[in-house]
């Protein structure tokens, strides 16, 4: 029944879907930006030889990995208000949670890339008279960043898709708008769900695909021949 597709163009439905998409993308990109900024130094810290530092990093990473994002959202949005009287808006709470999650994941990716760099790269750079900080800045990080790119893109698209959870703290994003449209019309257009979800699929795709495409372009360009 293609007539159900016309529902998309009724009233301000299409605008509302795009508005919802913007909410999802905004939360994901702001969180991802903060995660990269915090995750890079965190990853460097994770490579530390100090056992206490290693243990603390490990605890943080495991805590965030084990704890479902939904629980983290509830903790920051509701429990922070109950305990500390800190009343964050839904959007801000979402950015905080996704940044906590993204920083942990990003740090682990950075740690992985750094440790996978062959030892001789450190040694050669040191032999050329670079200080350890210079080695990090001019040799290790540039090498690590190339390896990081595909995984970072992967994390970004995962984050965009995970934003669908924020509806539970009262933030209306693209998937919720879709459900609202389906439900408001369930008597007149009983089979609209398939079409509306199809449109949502397409919207997620047009956001995630260019990001993946750009990363593939960069990867090819940075290839060490």
């Amino acid at each position: 029944m293609p007539s159900d597709l016309e529902l998309i163009f009724q009233g301000s439905n299409l605008g509302r879907l795009l508005g919802g998409l913007w909410v999802s993308v905004w939360i994901a990109l702001v969180s991802m930006g903060a995660s990269v900024v915090l995750g890079l130094p965190f990853g460097v810290v994770m490579t530390s030889k100090n056992r206490l530092v290693k243990l603390l990093c490990r605890c943080y990473l495991e805590f965030v990995r084990i704890m479902p994002q939904l629980v983290l959202l509830f903790l920051v949005f509701f429990d922070l208000t109950k305990v500390a009287g800190l009343n964050l808006s839904g959007e801000f709470a979402a950015v905080v949670v996704f940044t906590i999650w993204g920083t942990a994941e990003m740090g682990d990716l950075v740690r992985g890339s750094i440790t996978s760099i062959p030892r001789h790269q450190f040694e050669t750079a040191r032999a050329l008279g670079m200080s350890p900080a210079q080695v990090q800045r001019h040799v290790i990080l540039p090498l690590a960043v190339r390896q990081l790119l595909p995984q970072t893109v992967n994390l970004t698209t995962r984050m965009i898709k995970t934003t669908s959870l924020v509806v539970l703290i009262g933030v209306v994003e693209v998937l919720k708008v879709a459900q609202q449209i389906i439900d408001a019309n369930r008597f007149q257009y009983p089979s609209a769900a398939l079409w509306i979800y199809g449109v949502v699929f397409f919207l997620y795709f047009i956001v995630c695909f260019p990001i993946s495409w750009l990363s593939r372009r960069l990867e090819a360009r940075w290839q060490i021949s």
Binding site: V83, I100, D183
Partner: protein, 287 residues
């Protein structure tokens, strides 16, 4: 070496603060009785000029968003009227069934009007105003079976969804009725439509919405079993708002406000077969 130390310190700081933030809030989950942070009295709401109401945004016809992006439905009619009589603007916050209590407890909304069924467990956590709607069980059956009372179901195959109040009701009160149990609502409706069962027992709001769209079926019994009420809820201890709401309900009862709200929203779905009195509660008192 300086740079490395700086990065280490920065990372350690970020880690420590996030861990501290999470650690602190983890312990809070169990702390029930919290102080009255964020509780707004009627006077405070009036001087702020806005009341914040938590509603469903995808439960047509009770609370939903229409194609212009505006909130609509039976609960919304009530919410709009409350704001109008308080003389304030209304701000709706979309809530999910699972987070309704939390929104109230943290003072993120002043009032919940999200088809909230009154139960003793919930009443420990929030304060319910007097009801504005009631629900019970309903039975959909094939029209030609002419089922009008529970005795008519004696040797019939009755469909129920597992875990619902309908299942418990028949098991406890009418063991003579043969039950066919399904996991999901869609399975139950399919079984009814293709004749595997004779009748389907479910919430009467569900039954009333389903039958008009399926020719050959009718809601033979519109209310059965215990009556549950649906009411607005405020944060525990917000007595001024609670009292205001209960007085308001009495006034609204005098003008039969909820019958008008029913005509405007629910009748479009349930049709004329159902008397509004099966669902509507006026004046906050269940007749």
């Amino acid at each position: 070496m300086q740079r490395r130390t700086f990065l280490t310190a920065l990372g350690a700081f970020a880690t420590a603060t996030t861990l501290a933030a999470c650690g602190g809030s983890t312990q809070s989950g169990s702390s029930g009785a919290s102080s009255a942070v964020g509780l707004r009295t009627v006077d405070e709401i009036k001087s702020a000029g806005t009341i914040i109401i938590g509603v469903f945004s995808d439960k047509s016809p009770f609370g939903y968003v229409d194609s212009s992006g505006d909130y609509a439905g039976y609960d919304i009619e009530y919410g709009n009227r409350i704001a109008q009589d308080l003389g304030v603007e209304v701000k709706y916050v979309p809530v999910e069934a699972a987070s309704r209590v939390e929104f109230l407890q943290t003072g993120k909304v002043d009032l919940i009007l999200a088809n909230f069924t009154v139960t003793p467990e919930r009443a420990e956590k929030v304060d319910f105003a007097n009801p504005y709607m009631k629900v019970s069980l309903g039975v959909v059956a094939k029209q030609d079976l002419a089922i009008t009372k529970v005795e008519d179901l004696a040797d019939k195959k009755v469909i129920v969804v597992k875990g619902t109040t309908a299942e418990t009701y028949f098991e406890d009160n009418h063991p003579e009725v043969k039950l066919q149990k399904y996991d999901q609502y869609t399975e139950a409706t399919n079984a009814l439509a293709d004749g595997r069962g004779d009748a389907w027992a479910t919430d009467n709001t569900e039954a009333l919405a389903w039958a008009p769209n399926n020719p050959g079926f009718t809601v033979g019994i519109t209310s059965l079993g215990a009556v549950d009420t649906i009411a607005g809820a405020v944060r525990k201890g917000n007595t001024t708002l609670l009292e205001w709401l209960n007085e308001e309900l009495v006034e609204l009862g005098n003008e039969q406000f909820f019958h008008a709200a029913y005509d405007k929203t629910l009748r479009l779905v349930y049709g004329d077969a159902v008397p509004a009195d099966e669902l509507v509660v006026e004046g906050g008192v269940v007749a």
